[in-house]
Symmetry: C2
Subunit: 126 residues, 2 copies
């Protein structure tokens, strides 16, 4: 029996100067939740201060992480400015229509060159 | 280029009376983070007060949701007591060894009859 759907969005070639701030993601999550007619329980985020590549640490704008806890499950994002990558997970037990509206929202909002979308049914162990 | 790994754990037939409380999950997450030698940024949880099946609402112990924001990404859980199901996501850019130790920890801690484990590389759009 399926209890929800995970949608995994892997973005490459992101115009990262617009998407490396945690507060930007909090705002995008607020908009996505409204568009998907979801119910927010809590939004948290964290701004990493530095970029680390292997053993080399460069001071400047690091990646961001944000998470929205919803009545209908969650949305998360992690960003890697040094690789121009953004990874978003949407996990919801809402309707397909609402899920599609959230996916379209992120697809249009996050300027990118490549995107891989993976959809997985959850809760089914058969 | 891969920036992390998602491990999706779908448990069925869970002895849910032991796993429907949000605070239980906060404790399990603390233990998992220690075992995986991860760095906790924040743990949040929410207890749903009622079980809803379709249009019917039964008062009693509802499901739980918990989320751990880590320096190495995140762990989330959602529970459906009415279906004896628990769904855990572990997203990490840590080592395979650390990931395996966390997966083994949840596999042993959550008493269940069936488990589906899905591993996905993240960040690669090719």
């Amino acid at each position: 029996m399926v209890v929800g759907i995970s949608i995994l969005l892997d973005f490459s070639g992101v115009a990262i100067e617009k998407f490396h701030r945690a507060l930007t993601w909090e705002k995008l999550f607020e908009d996505a939740i409204e568009i998907g007619r979801m119910t927010k329980l809590q939004i948290s985020s964290y701004q990493f201060p530095e970029i680390r590549t292997g053993d080399v640490t460069t001071s400047g704008n690091g990646g961001a992480t944000a998470f929205a806890l919803l009545s209908e499950s969650h949305i998360s994002v992690h960003t890697w400015p040094e690789y121009e990558k953004v990874v978003i997970d949407v996990f919801t037990c809402g309707s397909h229509e609402r899920i599609d509206s959230i996916v379209s929202f992120f697809q249009e909002s996050v300027k990118h060159s490549e995107l891989r979308i993976t959809k997985l049914s959850r809760g089914d162990t058969n």
